[in-house]
């Protein structure tokens, strides 16, 4: 049987009338009638994504301004470009992913899982390329401090990006949470790269990079909990 013949069979079956109980449709119309009022539609995706990237940059800059730009000052010009260019690119992609996840029927971009994996690996590769001091002085003590600082900056960034799209509607809340968490995590890493002057490769590759998956996992977990609660109602 040829594809065209299958097409024709499906088309015929699809053309068959499929009546719906008119009383049901009237019930639906009546239930929404009292609240049919003008609504303001959401801005375009690029505007929303651009706003969120700027917001994350503002959180990172504000954090570094308060604690000092020690890391940024110690880095060479090329190193700065190599570190902040991929962070900016992945922040843009994560913001677009978050917008897609929060607006039904949006053009799908990179999947949040792929984005998280690719973003973390790309940063690991950049750090491996730039930093060649393999000592591990105060590895855990200093590392935990950086991890906590990075996550503390991811929290306001996460709240901010949620606020920008609070009127959105996630058809897949967990994927949306993952995208938002990744974006917030990138804000946390940016702050660390601006501030932290500990250039030991193991420190940066483990503790700085860990901010992204932890923040993404927290975003996905929160979304999962909210979905469960919403379903329970």
């Amino acid at each position: 049987m040829k594809e065209k013949e299958i097409d024709e069979i499906l088309r015929q079956a699809g053309r068959a009338p499929h009546p719906v109980d008119p009383a049901l449709l009237d019930r639906v119309s009546q239930s929404i009638e009292p609240s049919v009022q003008p609504v303001r539609s959401l801005p375009r995706g690029r505007v929303l994504a651009g706003g969120m990237v700027l917001l994350c940059a503002a959180v990172a800059l504000a954090g570094a301004a308060r604690s000092g730009f020690f890391g940024f000052e110690k880095l060479g010009v090329l190193d700065r470009v190599l570190i902040f260019a991929p962070i900016a690119i992945f922040a843009w992609l994560a913001a677009r992913g978050w917008v897609s996840a929060m607006i039904p029927g949006s053009r799908p971009g990179l999947s949040p899982q792929l984005l998280l994996g690719a973003g973390s690996l790309a940063l690991l590769a950049v750090f491996a390329l730039i930093f060649h001091d393999y000592r591990t002085d105060h590895f855990v003590a200093q590392g935990v401090v950086c991890l906590v600082v990075g996550l503390l900056h991811a929290v306001p960034a996460g709240i901010g990006v949620w606020f920008v799209l609070r009127r959105g509607f996630a058809v897949d809340p967990v994927a949306a949470g993952l995208a938002a968490g990744t974006l917030a995590g990138l804000a946390g890493v940016s702050m660390l790269e601006l501030h932290c002057a500990n250039f030991q490769a193991p420190h940066i590759m483990v503790w700085h990079t860990a901010v992204i998956p932890i923040s993404a996992a927290a975003g996905a977990l929160l979304a999962w909990v909210f979905r469960r609660r919403a379903q329970g109602q």
């Binding site: 049987m1 594809e3 013949e5 299958i6 097409d7 024709e8 069979i9 499906l10 088309r11 015929q12 079956a13 699809g14 068959a16 009338p17 499929h18 009546p19 719906v20 109980d21 049901l24 449709l25 019930r27 639906v28 119309s29 239930s31 929404i32 009638e33 609240s35 049919v36 009022q37 003008p38 609504v39 303001r40 539609s41 959401l42 375009r44 897609s100 996840a101 929060m102 607006i103 039904p104 029927g105 949006s106 053009r107 799908p108 009127r167 959105g168 509607f169 058809v171 897949d172 994927a175 379903q231």
Partner: protein
């Protein structure tokens, strides 16, 4: 089926607070959304509930539609979300698993030999859920590959692959049933 341009215009008027546009949308789109649920859930009562829930959700989030964007993927993405949510709830609260597992068996048992054509739901019943929804959106709702990708939050390549696999299965099934597209009378 309404041209997409008309639906987009109605949607914009609905966002502007026009109740007539909302009612027109409900009457025009409900049959195809209802069929989407019937094909997926195989129960008219469930489909009625899902349809009602979908329109209430559409009403709540109507501001998320952006004028100029394709409107059908927006409706189907919400309908799909409601269906998935409904299944999750049902699986958690009741011993629904057994019933769901039996569904394909029931459809297979109903596979007729040569004779009158089955309806669309029976025809698509042996397909996995993901392939069924892709075929329904492409061939019944008349959406493009890009629109189906938007509605299902997947890539165009993935939609193409699902459609291709679905066609392979349908080819086997239809050949076994001895159907041909000229036998119009049997389709209901």
């Amino acid at each position: 089926m309404q041209p997409n341009g008309d639906l987009e215009m109605l949607m914009v008027r609905y966002q502007q607070g026009d109740f007539t546009a909302a009612t027109d949308l409900i009457h025009w789109l409900s049959p195809q959304l209802h069929r989407f649920f019937v094909i997926q859930s195989a129960s008219r009562t469930d489909a009625d509930d899902l349809l009602q829930e979908t329109w209430l959700r559409i009403h709540e989030v109507r501001h998320t539609y952006r004028p100029g964007e394709p409107v059908l993927p927006w409706f189907y993405a919400i309908a799909r979300h409601i269906r998935v949510d409904h299944y999750r709830k049902a699986l958690r609260t009741a011993g629904r698993e057994g019933r769901l597992e039996r569904m394909p068996e029931a459809a297979a048992a109903g596979s007729p030999g040569p004779g009158p054509m089955p309806d669309l739901a029976t025809l698509l019943a042996p397909l996995p859920e993901s392939q069924r929804e892709v075929i329904e959106m492409l061939k019944v709702a008349g959406m493009s590959l890009e629109e189906v990708a938007r509605a299902t939050s997947s890539s165009v390549g993935s939609v193409k692959q699902k459609a291709h696999r679905a066609y392979e299965r349908l080819r086997e099934r239809l050949s076994a049933m001895g159907l041909n597209p000229g036998a119009r009378g049997g389709i209901s």
